[in-house]
Amino acid sequence: MTTGLDRFGALLTGATPDRVPIVCNLLDQGAGELGVSLKHYYSSGDLVAEGQVRLREKYGYDTLLGMFYSALEAEVLGCRNIVYADDGPPNVGHLAIGRPEDIGKLHVPDDLNDHPRFRQLTHCIRMLKQESQGRWPVLGVVTASFSLPSMLMGIGQWMDLFLNGDIQLRDRLLELCSQFCSRQITALREAGADLIVYVDPVASATFITPAKFRELALPWVIRDLEDPGPAGVVFFNGGGKINPILADLKEHTGIGAYYLNPYDDIAEARNILGPQALIAAAINDIRLIDWSPQEIDREVEGIMQAGKRAGGFAFGTLLMPFRIPEPNIRALVDAAIKHGSYGDGLP
């Protein structure tokens, strides 16, 4: 049997796999598989691991996602209220940095596993690694230091600070966030994550200009990856366009894999990154809520054709909304398997 790890391994060594690897980022749907509330589901690494395994087996994509919810990082750094919904991801309900002086009080644990929820997360990754038996890459997910403050103080306050605020305060906050990010990468790798998805929406070209990216964000990408190293790191768009910053990332960071936004052009990305980089192209997954299976098939076919023309790539989603009907998830994966085949032997 060809596995997800075989497929990614082939791409990373410049070989052609049997088909395009499929990354299907289902999170909250795991609770539905187990018939439990989202709050209960995210209280236990065992439950999340079981949910992820069942989802992968059910739909047949190529990865195991070792993630709970983004707000967990804010929780570890002092957020006291996580707001749960019945039909979507848990959200930050308390800002750890309410006033500038709170930045000085921010505490990054030496051992992130001291935090009970983080310990559940690393336990989940260990369970996924064990369950995978070398077949499916386990993905760990971290928020970049440049984007993390938006969860700690709100995006408006963060923009105020990094654009026109106190530089020393800004840099102190980024140092702490970078320390947290680096430690998190290390902890997730130690737990068994094969790939680290590095999420940096505020650094994307949707949020700041390429000039500001070079000036403000890029040094922190470099810093985040300095200790843990860039091997196996995937730069994820986080919902923003990243083609305009790819050249700088390629030149300065050592990152070898990039996960594009649905509005980024994959051929352009390939031109910028060259033949070696692994590129993932993402579908606009909000539309999966109400596209028909035929529309999904057409959309996937288009992405696959463009991706294959651009050379070795993976097919993926962003974070798939809870409301996407099961038949549409099946239609997505079925279409990706059908149109992603390299049966003709040509990449």
């Binding site: 707001v83 979507g88 709100g154 949707t206 700041i208 200009t209 919902g239 909000i286």
Partner: protein, 226 residues
């Protein structure tokens, strides 16, 4: 001559916004006032065109207008408008009243803040209810303020489409017989990824960018008044 001076001022202001340099932008405004430009001209000939060209993405040949530039253009517009309106020779005509907030369960306030600044600079009264606003609160506040339009921002699909989001606000307007008095406008990332979503959640309209919001709100207000 005066026109070219205004053009130079506008260009300098646009450059400051493009560079997301708040201090430089405020300096341009202050220098215009110091040079004798009327507060009304500063708002309508510099701040508003600057905001709309920046947020509308129509500046120069570079189409990479970003959220940080939107944010700054709107923030300055709001601050300068609040400061200069009391200095107008006569009170400006209020274009309408909008009650705005993010939907229940949603703690993302950026989009709403940008829209709020754009509306204020276009002489709309704005009541900002903040983030995580219950549907009942939207309706109560709109009634209390005698607002014509309720603006609901959502950053996540489940807060846009959920039962405590815009759909419930629509239901409340219907139950309370207020549909002839108020309109609902929505905005936020989910609507940009899905053309028809605003109708599904019961809204009357949506705006793709904050710069478009004043025109869309003006249309809704006009509908109600006609």
């Amino acid at each position: 001559m005066a026109d070219s001076m205004e053009q130079r001022t506008l260009n300098a202001y646009l450059q400051a916004l493009f560079d997301t340099d708040k201090a430089a932008a405020l300096k341009v405004i202050q220098e215009s006032l110091d040079d004798g430009m009327a507060p009304e001209k500063v708002i309508f000939d510099i701040v508003v065109p600057g905001m709309e060209r920046m947020i509308g993405g129509m500046i120069s040949t570079d189409n990479l207008i970003t959220l940080s530039q939107h944010f700054l253009a709107s923030q300055i517009a709001e601050e300068v408008t609040d400061r200069l309106i009391p200095l107008f020779a006569s009170a400006p005509e209020v274009q309408g009243h909008v009650v705005i907030g993010t939907s229940h369960g949603d703690f993302h306030g950026l989009g709403k803040k940008i829209v709020s600044g754009c509306l204020k600079a276009r002489m709309f009264q704005v009541t900002d209810l903040g983030i995580n606003v219950a549907p009942e609160r939207f309706v109560e506040a709109a009634l209390s303020a005698n607002a014509q339009v309720i603006g609901i921002s959502s950053m996540m699909i489940h807060t846009a489409t959920g039962e405590r989001g815009p759909k419930r606000v629509r239901q409340l307007l219907n139950e309370q017989g207020l549909e002839h008095k108020m309109r609902i406008i929505v905005g936020g990332a989910p609507y940009r990824f899905h053309d028809n979503l605003f109708r599904e959640v019961g809204a009357d309209a949506w705006a793709d960018t904050a710069a478009e919001a004043p025109a869309v709100v003006a249309r809704l207000v006009k509908e109600l008044r006609s």
